[in-house]
């Protein structure tokens, strides 16, 4: 499954590179995201996964290379412009608007999809009233989707950890993304919550909502359970790519995670 630059690709990153001074965080990585799939990006700590994410979402400007979203070059565009073009994201360490209520958080996510401006907000024209009411209704729907409808007016910081993660997803969905980036979505969840989340991503987001999902994930059960394709980064380079099964058996991946000795160990076991 190595589909480069075919028509079904939502996002194409070509030779993307990021240097921080002398440190090469991401080294000429080419990467495609086909439409309607769940892609996982894995790799040991410090492999450059989050940096790669931050380049896709416009937080960092790549040192070299290009990123194409839906056929449009978005390299170096600011985050809000990229969000407007269809990438929604969550953060590794939850970054909700802590003191805003759940519904307000979701409504902030709709910013780019709303049109009210300073002047008609002051006058509160019928258009603004309608838009505001529609946004509120849609926000409640989204909260319903992630199972937080009853906590709509609770401040984000008062929600338990797992629910904060869900709220972040609802907020990202509110931006009406084509591609959803999840940065370690199950970090800090217990096994049952992780399993539920896997189900939510695979069944609800991919199969029902027809969304494309790209996620960074450490929990192998989640990765293997839901991914259509797994890409592995190590020291800023893509070392493997393929179906979960293929990646699991890949020597370089095992080496990256467990060291050279483990590979030899496995070979020996495989021989015997």
């Amino acid at each position: 499954m190595t589909d480069t630059a075919t028509d079904g690709n939502l996002l194409v990153a070509e030779d993307v590179r990021k240097e921080f001074g002398g440190l090469i965080a991401v080294n000429n990585v080419s990467f495609t995201v086909p439409r309607g799939r769940v892609i996982s990006l894995i790799g040991p700590n410090g492999a450059g996964k989050t940096t790669f994410f931050n380049m896709l979402t416009g937080v960092y400007k790549p040192t070299a290379g290009s990123i194409t979203l839906l056929g449009e070059d978005v390299t170096g565009k600011p985050p809000h412009a990229i969000t407007a073009r269809g990438i929604g994201r969550t953060f590794q360490n939850i970054r909700l608007f802590q003191n805003m209520s759940a519904i307000e958080n979701v409504m902030v996510g709709m910013h780019t999809r709303m049109k009210a401006n300073l002047f008609n907000s002051i006058i509160r024209t019928p258009f603004v009233k309608r838009e505001e009411a529609a946004a509120r209704a849609r926000a409640l729907d989204l909260l319903q989707e992630v199972g937080l409808r009853r906590k709509a007016h609770e401040a984000a910081k008062n929600l338990p950890y797992g629910e904060q993660r869900k709220l972040e997803v609802a907020r990202a969905l509110a931006t009406e993304p084509q591609l959803l980036l999840l940065d370690e979505p199950t970090a800090g969840m217990n096994p049952q919550e992780s399993a539920e989340f896997t189900q939510f991503v695979g069944h609800h987001l991919r199969d029902e909502r027809k969304l494309t999902v790209l996620m960074i994930e450490h929990d192998m059960r989640v990765v293997m359970g839901v991914s259509d394709r797994v890409s592995v980064l190590d020291y800023g380079e893509k070392i493997a790519e393929g179906s979960p099964r293929e990646v699991q058996r890949n020597e370089r991946v095992i080496e990256a995670y467990l060291g050279k000795a483990a590979v030899e160990d496995m070979k020996r076991q495989g021989l015997s």
Binding site: K18, F20, G21, L23, A25, G46, A47, G48, K49, T50, T51, F52, N54, T57, G58, V59, Y60, P78, P79, H80, A81, T83, A84, R89, F91, N93, R95, L96, F97, Q98, N99, M100, E104, M107, V108, G109, H111, T112, R113, M114, A116, N117, L118, S121, I122, I123, R124, V128, E131, E132, A135, A155, K157, R171, A172, A174, T175
Partner: protein, 576 residues
């Protein structure tokens, strides 16, 4: 002194003993003590004694069961004041009690309505009000105008600082822009000179020189032969707002890319640059262009009014010119031009409050708060940071500009000396004191500080000088005060009450010592900056969220905002 298990410290033991007493006895003792305290104060100043007595009475009345006891007690108290005076206090008390009997969900409508009504009729009853202890008479209407203007500015700054979380230390720049815009368009500043005889230069002119340029667009009360730009002041208010907003955008575009402290420093710079331009603008870059008339300022400015046609059409209800208006007398009060300025200021303020509230609960308002809470997340959710911050800056600037223009027109003058850095800080203090992000808190904070600045401190000073002396505050009085306050401190359970009592004890000691060192009279307004600083210090220590905080802001101040900079490349690179 045996080694027993009971609390060893004096306060603990007294407190324990005290709480063993029956409730009724305790209450009785406390009321008696408080009345003695009020009685003692009578010796220093009658109004103060009665004032404290009234506060004590109101406090205990609210401890009574509501009907019939509380109602009856309130009626008695009001009747007492109505009969024995000051009557205005009785009426005020009755109004306050009445408001609290309104069910809570209706109060949010009734209270603003009553407040607006009370403000509109203020010029009529201001002269009949009782003397406030220490602060003296109620602020006069001219002070009221200044207070309203400053409240407007504080609301404008609140949009920038309170909503969007952009610390602006140069807000005075917007105030100055508004004021100078007003001055440019309603004065003879750009009249120029020419000689009436054709072909003769100004220096060789044998007859009186006349203005060269004149532009008139609906100005009021111009004497024939004046030159310069004169446009209707109503139009001007809008124009100054717009020009200041544009100016805000121009300042904002390069500066708003900065975060936190860096932004504060740059705005501080702009707040210093503008007054300097005003001060030195009588000869711009040595070209001889006189833009701002330098340190002399620009004066006089045109008057404000509705013009003859509107005035005649409404039978004189709308005055044609504020400065020459007003012969009518209502409710025994002859309308002054200041009153008209006051009412117009109320209208401007209401518009400001309306806009500010509408913005707060809009798409843009949510975006501002999101940026304040977490810039990175806000950007990732599709909020264009620069544009959104610039809108906050522009709206804040707009109201600052309108307020500045109105103030300039009210005083009919603009001087560069009005726009020092301390005004920026002063307005920021108003926002902090009231409670950042909460418009009602900001209104109260701004009104109070503006009042102190205009009248309050001077009044307090003269009260201190007349009523306090080493004689009136001798060892006996100070000692009894101290004993009483300490006793109350022992029984005080609420933290706030304790703070108040500790404060009073300090005041008591400072006064006793101070009056023996310092020789009266003291010029209190001289210490203004120190006093404001002290007020802000106390607020920051005891109530960092301000007097009436916004729910959200309070939470942020107590827990700290979650905003790790994701742009910090080295950090993020290392962790990724």
């Amino acid at each position: 002194m045996g080694h027993t298990a009971e609390p060893v410290d004096l306060q603990g033991r007294l407190s324990a003993r005290w709480h063993e007493l029956p409730e009724l006895q305790r209450t009785g003792v406390v009321i008696a003590l408080e009345l003695v305290l009020a009685g003692l104060l009578l010796f220093i100043d009658k109004a103060l004694g009665f004032g404290v007595g009234a506060v004590v009475a109101v406090y205990w009345i609210y401890r009574l069961p509501p009907v019939p006891w509380r109602l009856a007690a309130q009626a008695v108290l009001v009747a007492l004041f109505l009969a024995l005076g000051p009557r205005s206090f009785g009426i005020l008390l009755a109004a306050a009690f009445a408001v609290f009997w309104i069910p809570e969900r209706r109060r949010s409508l009734v209270v603003p309505a009553v407040a607006i009504g009370a403000a509109i009729f203020y010029p009529f009853y201001q002269g009949h009000m009782f003397t406030i202890p220490v602060f003296g008479s109620w602020p006069d209407v001219a002070t009221g105008v200044v207070m309203l203007v400053f409240v407007m500015m504080a609301i404008g700054l609140n949009i920038v600082v309170g909503y969007a979380g952009l610390l602006d230390l140069g807000y005075v720049a917007f105030y100055a822009t508004g004021a100078y815009t007003a001055a440019f368009f309603t004065s003879q500043q750009f009249a120029g000179q020419k000689c009436p005889t054709p072909g003769v230069s100004v220096t060789n002119c044998t007859v009186a020189v006349v203005p060269r340029h004149k532009f008139d667009f609906g100005a009021i009360g111009l004497t024939p032969g004046t030159g310069g730009i004169h446009i209707s002041v109503w139009l001007l208010l809008l124009l100054s707002g717009v020009i200041t907003a544009v100016f805000g955008i121009v300042i904002g575009l390069p500066t708003l890319r900065l975060r936190g402290d860096y932004l504060a420093i740059v705005t501080l710079g702009f707040g210093e640059i503008l007054p300097q331009i005003a001060r030195n603008g009588d000869n711009l870059f040595g070209t001889g262009v006189n833009l701002t008339n330098g340190p002399n300022g620009i004066t006089p400015l045109d008057s404000i009014g509705f013009g003859n046609r509107l005035s005649d059409a409404t039978g004189g209800v709308l005055p044609s010119n504020f400065l020459t208006c007003c012969k009518a007398s209502h409710f025994g009060h002859q309308i002054q031009s200041t009153d008209i300025f006051f009412w117009v200021a109320i209208v401007l303020l209401l518009i400001t409050v309306f806009c500010s509230l509408r913005l707060q609960y809009s798409r843009l308002g949510r975006a501002w708060i999101a940026i304040r809470e977490d810039e990175t997340a806000a950007a990732a959710m599709g909020i264009p940071l620069m544009r959104t911050k610039t809108w906050a800056y522009a709206s804040g600037a707009f109201f600052g500009g309108v307020a500045g223009a109105y103030y300039a027109v009210f005083r009919s003058a603009t001087f560069p000396g009005d726009f020092f850095f301390n005004i920026s800080v002063f307005i920021l203090c108003m926002v902090i004191l009231g409670g950042m992000g909460n418009i009602w808190g900001v209104i109260i904070g701004a009104a109070f500080l503006a009042y102190l600045n205009q009248e309050g401190l001077a009044n307090t000073g003269s009260w201190l000088n007349t009523n306090l002396s080493a004689n009136s505050f001798n060892l006996l009085v100070a000692g009894i005060f101290l004993a009483l306050l300490l006793w109350l401190l022992v029984r005080a359970r609420e933290q706030m009450m304790r703070y108040v009592l500790v404060g009073l004890i300090v005041v008591d000691l400072v006064l006793f010592v101070g009056l023996r060192i310092i020789h009266l009279p003291i010029d209190v307004p001289l210490y203004a900056s120190g006093i404001y600083g002290l007020i802000i210090l106390i607020v920051m220590l005891l109530r960092p969220e301000g007097l009436i905080p916004s729910r959200r802001r309070a939470a942020e101040l107590h827990e700290g905002v979650h905003d790790e900079p994701l742009y910090d490349a080295v950090h993020a690179g290392a962790e990724a």
